[in-house]
C-alpha cells in the first residue's frame, strides 16, 4: 500500500513554508541570529538558526496564543501549514486523522539551563501555566484542540531518532486502516546545549568536521509536519513513502535501502563521518542540507521535506556545503531518495521516498 505525502508545513531558521525552504536550498540566504547562551563562565554569544512563529497570529487570535510556549507555537504553525497545504484544514474534508508529534527534547528543550540543576526551588514549585507548558505532549494537545481533531494523538520521543520512529507508527496506522490520514511531524526548540557544543567544536576544530568534510551546522530549531494518506493518487502528492526502517545497529552489514539512490543524511556535530562510511557504497550519491535548518534532534524531518520537494521538482538541490555533494541542481532521474539518520545508542532510521 502506497503512503503519499499530501501536504507539508515547515518552519525553521530559513523561514516558514516550502517556497521559502526551496529558495534557501537554491542558494538563498539563511541568516543566523546571535543567541546569548548562559554558561558557568558567563554568557557567550553563539550564532543559531532560530525560527519565528509570529505568523501564527494569521490563524488564531492572540488571546488563544497567549499561554503557548515557543515549543507549542512551532508545532502548531507547521501543523496548521501542513493541513492547509493538503487542503484539509476544514474538519469535513479529513476523515479520521491521527496526529503524532515527535520531539527530541520536548517542551523542556530550552527551558532548563543545561549546566544547572533543573529541579531547583523555582522549578519545583512552578506555576500551573509553566507546569502545563512543560509536559512533552503539550504541542500535540494544542494541535488537536486547534484542529478540533479527536483521532489518536501521540507525542513520542527517542532523542535523534524521534522522527523516523514516529513515521514508523504513522505508516502502521495507515496500513491498519486505523485512520484515513496522519499528521506527523517533528518539533524541537533551540537547545542551548547544542549551541554550546557548536561553540566548543568551532573553537577546537574551526568549522570543519561536518558530514562529508563540510562545515558543521549551527544549532537550529523548528518544526516540520507531513500530512500522509494511504492513497494511490500520485498526482496530488509530493512523493510516496515506500519504506521506513528503524532499528539498532549491532555490527554486521547495515540494513541499507535499495541500491542506486540518493541519501540525505546529517549527524550534526556528534555523529562522526566514520559512522556513515558503511552506508556510502559506490551506487549511492550523498547530500547534506543541514546548514539550511541546523542541528536539532528532529533534523531528519527536514531532510524528509527536502526529499519530498526533490521528488516533486524532479531534481536534487545543490549541496556546495558538502565536499562531495552535487555542485549544482541535478536531475533526480527517477532515483529514489533515502533520508538516513544515525542516532545515539547505535540507532538508525531511514525513509525511502520516490
Amino acid at each position: 500500500m502506497r503512503v503519499t505525502i499530501c501536504g507539508i508545513g515547515v518552519v525553521g531558521g530559513f523561514g516558514r513554508g516550502m517556497s521559502t525552504l526551496e529558495r534557501a536550498l537554491s542558494g538563498g540566504p539563511v541568516d543566523p541570529a546571535i543567541v546569548s547562551i548562559p554558561t558557568r563562565e558567563g554568557d557567550i554569544q553563539v550564532p543559531c538558526l532560530t525560527a519565528d512563529t509570529t505568523h501564527l497570529a494569521d490563524f488564531m487570535p492572540t488571546r488563544t496564543l497567549r499561554r503557548m510556549s515557543h515549543y507549542i507555537r512551532l508545532g502548531l504553525l507547521a501543523a496548521v501549514d501542513a493541513m492547509t497545504d493538503a487542503g484539509m484544514l476544514e474538519t469535513d474534508r479529513r476523515g479520521r486523522l491521527g496526529i503524532i508529534v515527535a520531539t527530541g527534547h520536548g517542551a523542556t528543550g530550552n527551558n532548563y539551563a543545561f549546566q544547572y540543576p533543573f529541579e531547583d526551588q523555582e522549578e519545583i514549585c512552578g506555576s500551573p501555566t509553566r507546569f502545563s507548558n512543560s509536559v512533552h505532549n503539550a504541542a500535540a494537545a494544542y494541535i488537536s484542540i486547534a484542529l478540533k481533531e479527536m483521532g489518536p494523538n501521540h507525542s513520542i520521543t527517542h532523542e535523534d531518532l524521534s522522527f523516523p520512529s514516529a513515521l514508523l507508527t504513522a505508516v502502521a496506522w495507515l496500513r491498519q486502516g486505523r485512520v484515513d490520514a496522519v499528521l506527523v511531524g517533528g518539533v524541537d526548540e533551540l537547545s542551548h546545549a547544542y549551541a554550546y557544543a557548536w561553540h566548543v567544536h568551532q573553537q577546537q576544530h574551526g568549522q570543519t568536521g561536518g558530514p562529508g568534510g563540510g562545515k558543521i551546522p549551527l544549532a537550529g530549531e523548528g518544526a516540520c509536519f507531513f500530512l500522509l494518506k494511504a492513497d494511490d493518487n500520485r498526482s496530488a502528492a509530493y512523493a510516496s513513502i515506500s519504506d521506513v526502517r528503524v532499528g539498532r545497529r549491532r555490527g554486521g552489514p547495515p540494513d541499507r535501502p535499495a541500491a542506486s539512490c540518493y541519501i540525505l543524511g546529517t549527524g550534526g556535530v556528534a555523529a562522526t563521518p566514520a559512522d556513515y562510511r558503511p552506508w556510502q557504497t559506490a551506487d549511492v550519491r550523498w547530500a547534506s542540507y543541514a546548514s539550511v535548518y541546523g542541528d536539532l534532534p528532529v533534523d531528519s524531518a527536514f531532510d524528509t521535506a527536502i526529499a519530498a520537494l526533490s521528488c516533486q521538482k524532479n531534481l536534487i538541490f545543490p549541496d556546495d556545503r558538502m565536499a562531495a555533494g552535487p555542485r549544482g541542481p541535478e536531475p533526480l532521474a527517477g532515483r529514489p531518495i533515502a533520508c538516513l539518520k544515525l542516532g545515539v545508542g547505535h540507532t538508525y532510521g531511514w525513509t525511502l521516498l520516490e
Partner: protein, 395 residues
C-alpha cells in the same frame, strides 16, 4: 487487529515488588500510602502518595546508580522475561522493539545536574544514562525500533497500543512494551498548583472525592505475534485483543464534560477487537478520584455498559502516570485469571449525581475479556481490550 500475545509480564508499584505480590496485596485490600519521603527537605508536603519502597528495587541485574524510573522498568522487564520463560538470547535473534510510556523517563535527563562534563555531549549522554527505553534495548541487545510515548497519563496504554500495531503489521516479532514513571517534586507540586491532588487518600467515585494521589511504578509486557509463540512453544498468559485511542480536543487539563472522547475510544477498542459491548465482563476505569474525571467515566460507562461491574485500582496504587495503563492492564488480567474483582479502595459513599457506582464488595466475575481505560492530561483517551484467550467469550 490480530490478537497480540502476552508472553510474560512484570509489575512493580506500591502494591508489591512483583506481579504476584501486587495481586496478593490487591485482593487483601492493602493500601500503602504516606507523605513523600524522598523530596528535598525544603519542600512542604501535605498530600499523600503511593511510593515504591527502596527494598523493592534491590535486584542483582539492575545497577543501583540508574534513575528510579529506569530501575523500576528493568526490574519489571526481568520479571516479564522470567514469567514468560524467555531468555534474552532468544529475543536477540528476532526483530524485537521496545516501546515504553514514560513522562519522567524523558525529562529526567534534564533533571540531573551533571558534574563538570563537557557540555558538548550533555543531551546525548543524559539520554543514554536516563532513558528507560534505550536502557532496555541496550541491555537486551535488541535490533528493532525504539520509542517512548510521552502522552502523560495514557502514555503506557498508548505504548502497548503502538507495540501492538508494530506486531500486527509485521514490523516486529515481539516488543518489550509497558510504562514507567517515578514520583517527582515537579509533578507533585505541578498537580498541586492545578488543585488536582487530594489532601487525603484518594476516593475514586466517592461523593466526597477531592482529587488524586500520585504514585509510582512500572509494568512491562513481552508482547509477541502468535507465530512467534508457536515457533517457541509458548503458551501466552493473555492477549491484547484491541486498542482504542482518541483525543478530547477540548481543554488542556480537564476531560470533556460530554465524555465523547472516551466513548469514541471505547468504540474503537471494541471494533478493533471485533467484539460487542456484551462481551466485556468488567471495566478497570481510570478512576483517579478527581471530581471531573470520575463524573465523566461514570456517565460514559453507564451509557455504554449499563449494569457491568467496574472498578478503580488507583486507591491501591495511586496515579502512576505513564505506568498507569500497563499496571492497570496487568491487574485487569490478574482479575480475569482469578475470576473476581477486589473492592474499589477509597470508595465508601455513593455520589447521587453519578449514574453508576464501582464495585464496593469483592465481586465474582465470569468471562474472559475486560477493558482497561485511561484518560490523560492534555486530553488523550486510551482503552485496551485484554483477554485471557484468543477467542473471547463471556458467560
Amino acid at each position: 487487529m490480530t490478537p497480540v500475545a502476552i508472553v510474560g509480564l512484570g509489575c512493580i508499584c506500591a502494591l508489591g515488588a512483583d506481579y504476584q505480590q501486587c495481586l496478593q496485596s490487591l485482593f487483601a485490600g492493602q493500601r500503602r500510602f504516606g507523605l513523600p519521603s524522598r523530596f528535598p527537605a525544603a519542600c512542604e508536603v501535605s498530600q499523600p502518595v503511593f511510593e515504591v519502597p527502596d527494598s523493592f528495587l534491590q535486584h542483582d541485574s539492575v545497577p543501583g546508580n540508574l534513575s528510579r524510573t529506569c530501575r523500576m522498568a528493568m526490574v519489571a522487564t526481568w520479571e516479564a522475561l522470567d514469567h514468560g520463560n524467555l531468555d534474552a538470547r532468544t529475543l536477540a535473534r528476532h526483530r524485537v522493539g521496545v516501546c515504553l510510556g514514560s513522562n519522567i523517563g524523558v525529562t529526567s535527563g534534564y533533571a540531573v545536574a551533571q558534574n563538570d562534563t563537557d557540555a558538548f555531549l550533555l543531551p546525548r549522554d543524559r539520554f543514554l544514562a536516563t532513558n528507560p527505553t534505550h536502557l532496555l534495548a541496550d541491555t537486551l541487545d535488541l535490533s528493532g525500533p525504539q520509542q517512548t510515548v510521552a502522552n502523560a497519563c495514557t502514555a503506557g496504554s498508548d505504548a502497548i497500543g503502538v507495540a501492538s500495531a508494530w506486531i500486527d503489521q509485521g514490523i516486529c516479532d515481539a516488543v518489550i512494551a509497558g510504562g514507567t514513571d517515578e514520583l517527582t517534586p515537579r509533578v507533585y507540586f505541578g498537580f498541586k498548583s492545578l488543585f488536582i491532588n487530594d489532601e487525603k487518600p484518594c476516593r475514586p467515585f466517592d461523593r466526597d472525592r477531592r482529587g488524586l494521589n500520585l504514585g509510582e511504578g512500572a509494568a512491562v509486557f513481552v508482547l509477541a505475534s502468535t507465530d512467534f509463540c508457536q515457533a517457541h512453544g509458548i503458551v501466552p498468559k493473555g492477549y491484547i485483543l484491541g486498542y482504542g485511542s482518541t483525543a478530547d480536543a477540548d481543554h488542556f487539563t480537564q476531560p470533556r464534560a460530554d465524555g465523547k472522547g472516551l466513548r469514541l475510544a471505547l468504540d474503537e477498542s471494541l471494533t478493533s477487537a471485533g467484539l460487542a459491548p456484551d462481551a466485556i465482563c468488567f471495566i478497570n476505569a481510570h478512576g483517579t478520584g478527581t471530581p471531573d474525571n470520575d463524573r465523566v467515566e461514570s456517565h460514559v460507562l453507564n451509557k455504554m455498559f449499563p449494569g457491568r461491574p467496574f472498578l478503580s485500582t488507583k486507591g491501591y496504587t495511586g496515579h502512576t502516570l505513564g505506568a498507569a495503563g500497563p499496571i492497570e492492564a496487568a491487574l485487569t488480567l490478574g482479575c480475569l485469571d482469578r475470576g473476581r474483582l477486589p473492592v474499589t479502595a477509597g470508595f465508601e459513599t455513593p455520589d447521587a449525581d453519578l449514574p453508576a457506582q464501582p464495585v464496593a464488595e469483592p465481586t465474582m466475575i465470569q468471562g474472559t475479556v475486560a477493558l482497561s481505560q485511561n484518560l490523560a492530561f492534555g486530553g488523550s483517551n486510551a482503552v485496551l481490550v485484554i483477554g485471557k484467550q484468543e477467542e473471547p467469550g463471556c458467560v
